[in-house]
């Protein structure tokens, strides 16, 4: 079946199978920033924006995306700035979790969140196995302009 979507601002028609999950379709079409972690909605590594809101793409049926807007890391110009902050703070060790975290943090910036406590709560669904989160939190604080 065919679905019409807007990915990163571009209109696209994608050819999908009825059983396919959004994560797999996005990767098949070359959006490699979208990665598979737990495949059950728990780790946040596969995060994309669906009509502007963060969702785990491993838990979204591709057919459901018909007529909707998807944004991946590739479509977020602010991503680079935050990625550099992550690197500065030593917060991308294996780096596997970074794309999901970046998508979600850029979303928080759009919401104008400036309190660290609030950011932490909103990022509860983005797990990282390497950093122990401290470095990430420093980078997030800088990026969001958290008031000390």
């Amino acid at each position: 079946m065919k679905i019409k979507v807007i990915i990163n601002g571009e209109k696209k028609v994608l050819d999908i199978e009825p059983h396919e999950i959004l994560l797999d379709v996005l990767r098949r079409y070359g959006y490699y920033s979208v990665r598979r972690g737990c495949d059950t909605g728990m780790c946040g590594i596969c995060t994309v924006l669906f009509d502007g809101k963060p969702v785990p793409s491993c838990s979204v049926f591709a057919a459901r995306a018909d007529g909707h807007e998807i944004t991946t890391l590739e479509g977020l110009p602010e991503a680079k700035e935050f990625a550099e902050l992550l690197a500065e703070e030593g917060a991308d060790q294996c780096g596997y979790c970074s794309p999901g975290l970046i998508v979600n943090t850029v979303y928080l910036k759009k919401l104008k969140i400036k309190k660290m406590d609030e950011a932490k709560i909103k990022l509860i669904g983005n797990l990282c196995r390497c950093t122990g989160y401290e470095g990430q939190h420093r980078a997030i604080a800088k990026f969001l302009g958290v008031e000390k």
Partner: protein
């Protein structure tokens, strides 16, 4: 493997598809797709309810109506804006992560009928009724849920919405115990609502999750406490009663002995938090 995906837009169309295909309904899909991929459910047809033309979230006759397809995120906004049932906010904010709450729905939680379902617990506490279509039947949630994953639904029926009481001037407590402090499936949980009249009980509702095949609530015990003075002894009595009534299982998350002890401890903890001092 899924071969067919349907998107009905009317109640009759949905109902006919359900009869014809035996397919699984989904809204958020946060339960269904996890189960399909884990091999726990095998189906060739899924029916997307999101395109159904359904009513809105609303307050009517002092009841809160939550239709299918309303997400937790939408519900939280509505509860805040209308300043009703603050216990719902306390419960819903512990469900999954913000991302899961952007997709998951209270109706999906009820249909899933897990004894660990946090919204199932909320609906027991607020004397919810489940509204089915096309029959328009209205069934109290504790009759609708028959056991873990078992619900009272005819072949042609689906859940159209749930209706919950709106309560004013109740003290409340909710806690869920899990193996970590975020995104937890409960090992045991407690929800308590209490309305006072001169330090005595005017109405009390107490429910536990994950410690029996369905949510544990006992209306007889609740009724027998009306007019009683609220003190620690009363809660010790309650803790004992529910310790005995609970019938948990041992699973990967915890043993049944630990769960029973939690029922006792959480009951006393609820009292201490509400009437003595806040402890974490």
């Amino acid at each position: 493997m899924i071969k067919n995906y349907f998107r009905p837009s009317t109640i009759d169309e949905l109902s006919e598809l359900k009869i014809k295909t035996n397919g699984y309904l989904f809204s958020g899909g946060t339960d269904l797709f996890v189960k399909i991929r884990a091999g726990a459910i095998n189906t060739d047809t899924v029916i997307d309810t999101k395109y159904l033309e359904n009513e809105e979230l609303k307050i009517e006759n002092k009841k809160l109506f939550i239709p299918l397809n309303t997400t937790y995120t939408e519900l939280r906004k509505f509860i805040k804006a209308n300043q009703i049932n603050p216990i719902i906010e306390n419960i819903v904010k512990t469900i999954g992560s913000p991302m899961i709450r952007n997709r998951g729905t209270p109706v999906g939680n009820i249909a899933n009928a897990s004894p660990a379902g946090d919204f199932v617990l909320a609906s027991y506490l607020l004397n919810a009724s489940v509204i089915l279509k096309p029959s328009s039947k209205k069934i109290p949630v504790e009759e609708f849920i028959k056991g873990p994953g078992k619900i009272e639904l005819e072949k042609e029926e689906f859940i159209y919405g749930i209706e919950l009481e709106i309560l004013d001037d109740y003290k409340f407590y909710f806690e869920k115990v899990g193996r970590r402090n975020a995104m937890i499936i409960s090992i045991a949980s407690i929800g308590l609502l209490i309305k006072e009249d001169n330090e005595k009980i005017k109405d009390i509702r107490i429910a536990f999750g994950s410690v029996a095949p369905t949510i544990l609530r006992n209306k007889e015990i609740e009724k027998s406490l009306i007019g009683e003075k609220i003190d620690k002894n009363l809660f010790k009595y309650l803790a004992n009663e529910f310790f005995n009534l609970s019938s948990p299982i041992t699973d990967v998350r915890a043993s049944k002995e630990y769960r029973k002890q939690l029922v006792y401890n959480l009951t006393l903890k609820a009292y201490i938090n509400l009437y003595e001092k806040v402890v974490i």
